[in-house]
Amino acid sequence: MNLMKFTVSALAIAAVSATAAAARDNVQVTGSSTVLPYSTIVAEAFGENFDFPTPVVEGGGSGAGRAKMCEGVGPNTVDIANSSSRITQRDIDTCAANGVTEIMEVRFGYDGIVFASDVNGPEFNFTPADIYNALASQVVKDGALTANTHAQWAEFNPALPAQDILVLSPGTKHGTREVFDERVIIAGCKETGAHALFLAVVAGDDDSAKNRAANGECTKLRTDGRNVDIDGDYTETLQRLDNDKNAVGVFGLSFYQNNTDKLRVATMNGVVPSTETIAAGDYPVSRPLYFYVKTAHLDVIPGLKEYVEFFVSDDMAGPDGPLAQYGLVSDPELAATQAAVAARTPMGPLN
């Protein structure tokens, strides 16, 4: 049996090579798909300019990435978790239970979230209140909460075009949704006075519980088809927008900057989103981007320390670096981050 000999020898080769591959010589990164493009840009430049192999970067989501990082210590676990939202106490607890006691938190910049519509459509100048009025399940009318029946933008704000409301918002599994809820929907809820009305009716033991409950009421969006949750990525939103020219989509700033020929961006409170306005704090809808490094791996995995330092260097994450060109809003406190990375300061308790 020729086949048998072939199989046996192939398995033997595989077994021998298994021992050779026991130690890992490349950095492994996983996590947020928002951070993924930045991370690949850095990884690629790192592989080109250093003698270390190019790090392997995976997407899959912030939460999943942090969970993977917290699985334990050793070459079999990932070194870095990219995250578009801050680590939670639960993650830190899981990490500690699995022996990952020291984590380094690195904030390398900010990401803007923009509203954009078809490039040939009318211009939109939103305030958070407009988005709230368009999307919430309950809105304020004559000082009382009523079910949202708005069909056109101009119905509640004459300055907006008389166009059917259709918003493609990020699905609930996205990190983007959190910022969208907090910076747009809840802000709009407060602006329109709906938040105060919710506060009067919700139950809760103390003020903060009531506030949380009111926020929860605010973020309930209408379900009559005027708001569409997109669970895929921004390319899917763009495709939907292409099919329905009336729609307004929610995108990341970097995605918009790569597709300015197809999208017309909306202003928020009169501010045009750009890396400059976000860095200055004028444009309200933005969030910090992080990655978390397992400090125990710093001296074990070759190239990890260099990769982290290279990521936050001015050449990469600085205001003129390739990440900023791609759409990252450079962190004004980058120097402090660089110092913390150099000193390997582990993160303290969450505040």
Binding site: L3, M4, F6, T7, A10, L11, I13, A14, S17, A18, A20, A21, R24, N26, Q28, T30, S33, L36, P37, S39, T40, I41, A43, E44, A45, G47, E48, N49, D51, P53, T54, V56, V57, E58, G59, G60, E71, N76, V78, V119, G232, D233, Y234, T235, G252, S254, F255, Q257, N258, N259, T260, D261, K262, D315, P322, Q325, Y326
Partner: protein, 453 residues
């Protein structure tokens, strides 16, 4: 369809009241029913053909352009002062000059060329001229110089990819109108591109590097290629083939020829049929738990992908193998046993060789479906950015990080730069070509070796 009524079906009715030439009402209804059924059949086939055509047309119209690539023929003087400030030509001091330095060198080379030939367009700064050159060119030039330091001081011809937007302009994806709105390119830059095409510096040609290059980051779609994905897929197919064949064939032979027919074998049989219908993502979850978390195999490695895909294809292979063993007539077995062969000799000398073409066909089709599988690979870390080629199988390449073809399609489809859409469709074309080759191989094997009884 009307001529179907004339087809002479034998009249089933016993009465002699009608003839074939004069049809009564019932006959007409029956013939009409047959004509209708034929029409439904043809309609069903047409619908599937049209769907296939639409799918292929969209893939090919988007994807064929991925195989062509615009590039710039540059004459670069490798200035010793810039590339080797120490002047000692040692690898250590040479590698201190980063890709940024090489990028400036290339930008200067293109600007010098334009100044020499008097090519200029109002409103294009030297920096914007530099944006014509792909960001991967400095890295390739740097690697060339590091590999051969003798090049320093010489003037060489260097082919650099044009950046994604310029490439898109030559393919018609980017137009003057879209460039006016695009923040990454200006209409003036496109006018300059026209001048460079006239001068013969900017050319479009078939792009082999689409098949050999590794993946690239979002900022350089033009240099992204399928090299690692193809290697990863080949490694996995090889490993799946050598694992699935012995296990699958052994299991089927035992179940078909040796196993007693009782409750246990019935349960096993039902389970195999059920496993063939389990969604593939479940195998991914299983693979993550067993091979990565328990057996501590490295993530993103072809070996883990192959193990998962083996588990996934095994039931299909067992079912196909058993069917072809069953198709060997019992008279062959009876004859072999009759002349005194043992059961084992009967199976291995007579039944298995006759069933081999069917087994091979089933295996190849199983492999083809494994080749197109994405879902289980998602969970074991093969949907990743991998830029280093895995080493050869003898040096542990099965354990190095790699991606796979379907996974590359998936990850390119979600990139923000529009140039990745054509790459994604291009990758589908390559995947389809692989599948086509495998399916043709299966058909050829069946045609040449299959015996009918």
């Amino acid at each position: 369809m009307t001529d179907a009524t004339a087809s002479g079906l034998p009249d089933a009715r016993p009465q002699g009241s009608s003839s074939l030439l004069q049809q009564d009402a019932l006959m007409k209804r029956r013939n009409a029913a047959e004509a209708r059924f034929k029409f439904y059949g043809i309609a069903a086939i047409s619908v599937s053909l049209v769907t296939l055509c639409v799918m292929l047309w969209t893939i090919f119209s988007d994807g064929v352009s991925a195989f062509r690539q615009a590039s710039l023929e540059l004459t670069v003087t490798l200035d010793a002062e810039r590339l080797d400030p120490q002047g000692d030509r040692s690898l250590e001091s040479l590698s201190k000059v980063t890709t940024i330095g090489y990028g400036n060198l290339l930008t200067a080379a293109l600007n010098d060329y334009m100044a020499e030939r008097n090519i200029s367009v109002e409103g294009v700064s030297p920096k914007q001229v530099g944006e014509f050159i792909s960001r991967d060119a400095p890295a390739r030039l740097r690697n060339m110089v590091l590999a051969d330091p003798e090049l320093i001081g010489q003037t060489i011809r260097f082919g650099a990819f044009a950046s994604g937007r310029i490439d898109g302009y030559m393919k018609g994806r980017v137009t003057m109108a879209s460039a006016a709105l695009d923040s990454n390119i200006t209409p003036e830059q496109l006018q300059l591109a026209d001048r460079l095409i006239e001068a013969g510096v900017l050319k479009s040609a078939f792009n082999w590097r689409f098949l050999t290059n590794p993946d690239a980051s979002d900022q350089r779609p033009e240099s992204a290629g399928l090299g690692i994905a193809i290697i990863g897929s080949l490694y996995m197919m090889f490993l799946v083939a050598i694992m699935v064949l012995p296990i699958g064939v052994a299991a089927s032979i035992y179940l078909e020829e040796f196993a007693p027919k009782n409750k246990w074998t019935d349960i096993i049989e039902v389970n195999i049929s059920n496993l063939a219908a389990v969604p593939s993502i479940v195998y991914g979850i299983l693979g993550l738990a067993i091979f990565i978390n328990f057996a501590k195999l490295p993530a993103s490695a072809p070996i883990v992908g192959a193990l998962v895909l083996t588990l996934m294809t095994l039931p299909t292979i067992i079912i196909a193998t058993r069917a072809s063993l069953r198709a060997v007539p019992p008279s062959i077995r009876d004859a072999a046993l009759g002349v005194g062969a043992s059961k084992m000799q009967t199976v291995f000398h007579h039944v298995l060789p006759l069933a081999a073409p069917g087994i091979m066909t089933g295996t190849i089709l199983g492999l083809a479906s494994a080749l197109g599988e994405t879902a289980p690979l998602l969970l074991i870390g093969m949907v990743a950015f991998v830029a280093n080629y895995p080493s050869s199988p003898l040096e542990g390449g099965f354990f190095d990080p790699a991606t796979a073809l379907p996974v590359q399609v998936y990850s390119w489809a979600s990139r923000s730069d529009p140039a990745f859409i054509e790459r994604s469709s291009g990758a589908i074309i390559v995947l389809l070509a692989f599948l086509l080759v495998m399916n043709i191989l299966a058909i050829v094997l069946r045609r040449r070796f299959e015996r009918r009884w």
